[in-house]
Symmetry: C2
DNA sequence: AGCCATCGTTGCATGGTCTGCAAGTTTGCG
DNA sequence: CGCAAACTTGCAGACCATGCAACGATGGCT
């Protein structure tokens, strides 16, 4: 899986912009930082900034709409004989591993969000988008309909809840626990809890 | 309680701006409407718009930071021998009565939010502000500390949950139920549920 | 290696949001 | 009536975000 130069450069620029935005906002606050500042720190033109992020907030949070599509495709790429829940677990595990690789930035992100509550709103809508994208992906995989069937939305929201729970525990552990492990654990707890329900 | 001319005019301008924003956005969508359009429709200068609302979104939603302060003062104004929960109930009841008076605009507001999901983010942060303002007000009233004591934040968030639950039921009833009644009912259900807990 | 199509970067121009400042008006009150 | 406070307005300016067109780098193909 060799990624071309072009692709690597793009990823580098995106991450440079995100990190520049994050660090600058951590230092000066959201209003103390302009898009021009961020572009300058990442060594690209201000115009290029908007080739990577739709808004300043998105750059600070590092939100990537392409990520939503990638998740959907990852789900589609899982073996067809796997149960949907198992496929979701597997996809989330990979995501968790990737996120865990940049442990360094997470404390900064949370501190920046804490200090600039405006960002919370953007985060919430992003999670909403993620849930909806995942729901359509599940519908695709199971041949159901997002609008009429309960399954896809329920599974997507549940899986989102699992990830957010794991993230919360990761945070409260000071990022010492292993995120993939926490994700697995959350799924297990959920499965056991559901199995114990009267039926 | 006679309100002066100045005060009445201000209220009229604010509500004219909100209603103008709401109706225009309902017609053309959030991006199809500029602040200038809204000001024009409300018959004030564009500059005056920003004397009333900090952002276009706030005008569309009708969010008023002064409202937060008013709620806090209303709580402070309740008799000291009243329990804090009773005081919160009373304050919310008054708010509910006021909100119920403009039944006409609520369907439009919800439709506009539905059609312009960007607004949800702003709403979320506004609710967060409201919760925090209420928590400090409770802390003030009970002589506790927002940062170290559990009580104020817990009561504030609970009371926020009650109001949002009532609002949700109001919406699903098509605004035929009485909002103040729904608020009361939510408090009652909560009280009964808590009383039934093992202790 | 060399050519070309594609993709990414950049500058420029533009429309819109929001703020600070310094007038001008209106309102409240003695 | 006349003053002080509050509200409105215009203007200038910073910043955000987008469309367009020119330019340069990349990757595939021969």
């Amino acid at each position: 899986m060799t990624t071309g130069l072009r692709e690597r450069k793009k990823a580098a620029t995106r991450s440079a912009l995100h990190e520049a935005a994050l660090r600058l906002v951590a230092e000066r606050g959201l209003d103390g930082v302009s898009v021009d500042d961020i572009a300058a720190r990442a060594d690209v033109s201000p115009r290029t900034f908007f080739n990577y992020f739709a808004t300043k907030d998105d750059a600070v949070l590092g939100l990537d709409p392409a990520e939503l599509r990638r998740t959907a495709q990852a789900l589609a790429g899982r073996p067809a004989d796997e149960s949907t829940v198992a496929a979701l677990r597997a996809v989330q595990r990979e995501q968790a591993e990737e996120m865990a690789r940049e442990t360094e930035l997470w404390p900064l992100r949370l501190q920046v969000i804490e200090a600039n509550p405006d960002l919370v709103g953007r985060l919430v809508t992003h999670f909403g988008e993620a849930d909806r994208a995942l729901a359509t992906a599940v519908a695709e995989r199971t041949g159901t309909d997002v609008d009429t069937d309960t399954l896809p939305t329920l599974l997507a929201l549940t899986s989102g809840a699992v990830m957010r729970t794991a993230l919360h525990r990761w945070l409260t552990s000071g990022f010492t626990d292993s995120l993939p492990r926490l994700v697995d654990e959350a799924w297990d707890v959920l499965a056991r809890g559901l199995a114990a329900l009267p039926h």
